[in-house]
Each structure stands twice: as structure tokens, then as C-alpha cells.
């Protein structure tokens, strides 16, 4: 469904992503992990059109290199951000509506927005300005607005960061349902290995923009190289 082929991104002398190749299959929950500064969020920015790059990124067989972020959104790739982004001038309902009106193909569908508000448990705060929301609700709002674009792939950037154990459980359940009930492929960047091992079917570890290991989570977390560069000897 999504294929990165020898993708490289340099910022001046710094090589943020180095000849990276991997593929995500339809219906998967695909995890990406690695130390801080490994280039995980940069990979997201390349896929979603925020930065130009060398190499090829193909989505459903089409090369999407050179497309702008708003065009990528219309193709069916949605994302969230590591630092929660909201529209403080808009209400929760309006913000989710933005995704459906501008990002989805076809006409604006208020009933669909309504269903997303309910799905993400945002109905009680639908009329609230987004700036006043709790951290959990801000994350739900970002996911809701992304879902309102009717994506085929949803890319989540550290959705659990700053959350307590109850919130993590709640967000994990939402991600499972998005994947299972809506049939949306998920890519998730996360530092909580427990989340990744429970949610994902394939896990990719990168360090300094280079692939270290990829495979099923159980195999990856026991890989000596992954333990050395990321997890540490005390893991497990």
C-alpha cells in the first residue's frame, strides 16, 4: 500500500534519513521506533509532503514525490503531530469538520463528522474552543480531524506521549477500533514498547535515519542490535 524506496533526506550536512526502504501493507498496524533524533518524524514529514527528498515514495502504486501536503491528504494519507496541534479559533466540531470539508474527496458530510465526534468521544465537548481542551481530548481531536478526511492510512506521531496509564489504554483501544472497525491502515511512532508490541504486526527500528531492524515485534525487541542501540540491556 505504501512503499518507501531508497529514501534519503539531508538538511545541509546532516543526513536525517539515509537510504531508507520499507513497505506497509493494507490493513496493518505498522510501528516505528528508535532513539530521539533517529529521523522518525522526518519520515512522516517526507511521506506527507512537508519536505522534498531523494528516492521514491509510492502510495497504492503511484509515486507521490513532489506532491504538496494538502494533495497527499486528498490521496488518503492522514497524520497527527507529536506536539498536539489544534485550531484555537475553532470549536471541536468545526475542527473535525475542517478535515472532512478540505481533506476528503466528495462533498462535505455533516453526518460523517457527527459519527467521528461520537467515535472519538468528542461529542460532549463539540462546542468547546479547542484551545481549552485537555491533552487527551486534543489528541482525540487531532485523530478525529485526520479521520474526517476519510483516510486509507492514518499516521500517528507519538500519540501516547504525556499520557497516564488510563489514557494510554483508552487511546490504544481507539487505535485498535480505527484499524479493525474502519479498516484503516495505521502507522504509529511510539516510545512505549509495550504499546508497540501489543498493537503492531510489524515493527521498524531506525537510528540516525537508517533501518536497524524490521519484523514482527517479538523478534525485533530481542534483536541484539536493537537492544544495543535503543532498548538497552535492562529491557524486558
Amino acid at each position: 500500500m505504501l512503499k518507501l524506496n531508497h529514501v534519503t533526506k539531508k538538511f545541509g550536512e546532516l543526513v536525517a534519513v539515509n537510504d531508507l526502504s520499507f513497505a506497509v501493507e493494507a490493513g496493518q498496524v505498522f510501528g516505528i521506533a528508535g532513539p530521539n533524533g533517529a529521523g522518525k518524524s522526518t519520515v512522516y514529514n517526507l511521506i506527507t509532503g512537508f519536505y522534498p527528498f531523494e528516492g521514491e515514495i509510492a502510495f497504492e502504486g503511484r509515486n507521490i514525490a513532489g506532491r504538496q501536503p494538502h494533495e497527499i491528504s486528498k490521496l488518503g494519507i492522514a497524520r497527527t503531530f507529536q506536539i498536539p496541534q489544534t485550531f484555537p479559533s475553532l470549536t471541536v466540531e468545526q475542527s473535525v469538520g475542517v478535515g472532512n470539508r478540505f481533506g476528503a474527496r466528495g462533498r462535505f458530510d455533516p453526518a460523517y463528522v457527527e459519527s467521528i465526534l461520537a467515535f472519538m468521544e468528542l461529542t460532549p465537548v463539540r462546542h468547546e474552543p479547542t484551545g481549552q481542551l485537555s491533552l487527551l481530548d486534543k489528541k482525540r481531536l487531532m485523530m478525529g480531524a485526520a479521520l474526517a478526511t476519510r483516510p486509507k492510512i492514518l499516521m500517528l506521531d507519538e500519540p501516547m506521549a504525556g499520557s497516564n496509564s488510563n489514557e494510554i489504554r483508552s487511546l490504544m483501544e481507539s487505535i485498535r477500533r480505527i484499524n479493525a472497525e474502519m479498516g484503516i491502515t495505521i502507522i504509529i511512532i511510539e516510545h512505549f514498547m509495550k504499546v508497540l508490541t501489543e498493537l503492531t504486526s510489524t515493527l521498524l527500528i531506525i537510528e540516525t535515519g537508517t533501518k536497524v531492524c524490521m519484523g514482527d515485534p517479538e523478534t525485533v525487541v530481542n534483536d541484539p542490535e536493537v537492544i544495543e542501540c535503543y532498548l538497552g540491556e535492562s529491557y524486558g
Binding site: P69, A78, F81, Q85, F87, L90, G103, A104, A145, T149
Partner: protein
């Protein structure tokens, strides 16, 4: 603020203004001030749309006003184009200029947009006064002195017929304000606000920053250009003096007084600022100092302008009941 509330405030303000000639129609000086208030109300509102709603720190509003005024003046004087047609053409030309100015601004952050757009403002005076301007018909440093008034069905709307001209200006101001009201409450307005709040989140949700930022430049410069052109035909003469800092600062004061991003606050701001400025006229050379001091006090006491204050009060009132 809901569109119904915005429309209600606009209706009340313009409704009161519409009946004022019943009481002060024979005082020519006041009627002229009201006409000027209506013109600045539109220009300040346009500035509010681009700066307050779209979050683009454009300082080119006076430049667009002058471009519209001179374009229509040149069309009407040099090429004998009828005033109404010249005004429309001036609006379209100014919109084109707005898009041209907007293009380099797409890649720039706030302060740099302010610099680029103010640069356009700064280059306009030497351009209009210099050889290029003279060749185009700007009249150089003298300006354009014989701009014909707007004529509709054989009736000339000029300062000689102040009451009909007032109502024509009111109709223009109401039309422009309704256009702004509709735009900021449509999905265009939602896109402007989303891009202002978080551009990266907005574009990731499918909003084209290129399209909507250029749209806001085109729309606000079109309306400003039309009103600038109208102003030229109403006054009958133009000079580059409009490009000196007085008007620029006065317009900014209107915006701050009304409340940035608090449409239709800019309309209120225009009426309040022009009225206070006229009331301070007896102070002579102390007028500017007093006005400046009043603005400082107002910004400290009401950082969101009169509209922000009123909205806060009404919200507090609704919460306490």
C-alpha cells in the same frame, strides 16, 4: 462570534448611520466626516480580514487603497472611462497587484511579510511621483486634480450633492461589509482561521495554503481597491500624500480600537477613531500627542479593542445568569 451576531451589530451600526442625515443632513462638515468614516470602515475591515482572520501581517492596505484610487483616476482622466467602469477595473487591477504581492509572502513568516508589504507601500510614492508614474498619468508630485464624479443615470454623485452621495457610500460600505461577513463565515473563513492557528495541521487536513492565502490577498485588495477608487471620484483629486504615515497609522488605530480579528469591530473602530480625531481638532498641534496617549491607554485597558471588551462582557453576563 456567530454570523447572526455579526450581522446584528453591523445592522445596528449602519442603521444608526443611515438615519443620521435626518438630524445632521444640513451640516455639510458632519456629512463629509460620515462619508469618510464609511470609506475607512471598509478599508479597516479588509485589513482585519487579512491580518486578524488570516493571520497574514500585511502592511500593504494603504498601498492597495492608493493603487485603486490612482488606477481609477488614470482610467477616468486619461482614457475617459466612465467612473463606475473605472472603479470596477481598478478593483480588478488592485486584486491582481494583491496576488502579485501575496506570492512572495507565501514563503515568509509574519515580520517578513510585514516588511515586504510595507516595502510595496514605500516604493509607491517615488513610483507615482517619478517618470514612470507621470508617463502612466499619475500627475507626478501634483497628483490627479480633475477626477470626474460617479455618474449614474445622468446624476452626479459628488460632494456638491452630499446626501445622495452619503447614501451611495453607505450602500457601498454595506455591500463590502456583507461580502466580508459572508466570506469569513463561509468555508473560506474557516480555512483562513485554520491556517492562522496551525498551518501544518491545516495543510495536513487538505487546506491549500497557496490557494487560500492568495484568495485573501485577492479579496481584500479588490475591495480596498474599489473603495480607494470610489474615494478618488468622491474627492475629485488625488495626491501621494495619502502614502505618508498619518493615514497608515490612523487605519492601524481603527483596527486596534475595534479589535483585531473581531469583525465587525473594525467598523466601530473607524467611526470611533475618526470621531475622536475630529473632536480633538481644537487641540491643534497637541491633537496627535493626545490621540497617541488615548491609544496607549486603550490598548492597555482593552487589548482586544471595544469589540473584544463587549464580547467578554456579554459572555460574562451570560455565564452569571
Amino acid at each position: 462570534m456567530s454570523w447572526q451576531r455579526m450581522a446584528a451589530i453591523m445592522g445596528v451600526v449602519y442603521g444608526i448611520v443611515a438615519i443620521l442625515p435626518l438630524f445632521v443632513g444640513d451640516i455639510r462638515f458632519i456629512m463629509q466626516i460620515l462619508i469618510i468614516c464609511l470609506i475607512w470602515a471598509v478599508v479597516a475591515s479588509c485589513w482585519d480580514v487579512i491580518m486578524g482572520f488570516a493571520g497574514i501581517f500585511s502592511f500593504g492596505q494603504v498601498a492597495f487603497f492608493v493603487i485603486g484610487a490612482y488606477t481609477s483616476g488614470i482610467f477616468a482622466v486619461s482614457w475617459q472611462v466612465p467612473a463606475v467602469l473605472a472603479i470596477l477595473m481598478a478593483g480588478l487591477f488592485t486584486a491582481g497587484m494583491g496576488v502579485l504581492v501575496g506570492l512572495p509572502c507565501l514563503k515568509l513568516a509574519g515580520p517578513y511579510v510585514a516588511l515586504v508589504t510595507f516595502g510595496v507601500h514605500m516604493t509607491l510614492m517615488p513610483l507615482l511621483r517619478g517618470d514612470i508614474g507621470i508617463a502612466l498619468g499619475s500627475g507626478g508630485s501634483v497628483g490627479i486634480l480633475t477626477i470626474p464624479p460617479i455618474t449614474l443615470f445622468g446624476y452626479a454623485f459628488s460632494s456638491a450633492n452630499i446626501i445622495p452621495t452619503f447614501y451611495l457610500t453607505l450602500a457601498l460600505a454595506v455591500t463590502c461589509s456583507v461580502v466580508i461577513l459572508v466570506v469569513i463565515n463561509s468555508y473560506w473563513g474557516t480555512a483562513f482561521l485554520a491556517l492562522k492557528d496551525s498551518e501544518e495541521f491545516a495543510v495536513s487536513l487538505g487546506i491549500s495554503a497557496f490557494k487560500y492565502k492568495l484568495m485573501v490577498f485577492a479579496l481584500t485588495s479588490f475591495l480596498t481597491g474599489v473603495v480607494g477608487a470610489y474615494y478618488g471620484h468622491y474627492i475629485g483629486m488625488l495626491s501621494t500624500r495619502m502614502l505618508e504615515l498619518d493615514l497608515f497609522v490612523t487605519l492601524m488605530v481603527m483596527l486596534v480600537v475595534g479589535g483585531i480579528g473581531k469583525f465587525p469591530g473594525a467598523i466601530l473602530g473607524a467611526f470611533i477613531t475618526v470621531t475622536v480625531n475630529e473632536l480633538l481638532a481644537p487641540l491643534g498641534s497637541y491633537r496627535a500627542v493626545t490621540m497617541g496617549a488615548l491609544v496607549v491607554i486603550l490598548v492597555l485597558l482593552l487589548p482586544n479593542g471595544v469589540m473584544g471588551f463587549w464580547l467578554r462582557r456579554s459572555k460574562a453576563g451570560a455565564t452569571s445568569t
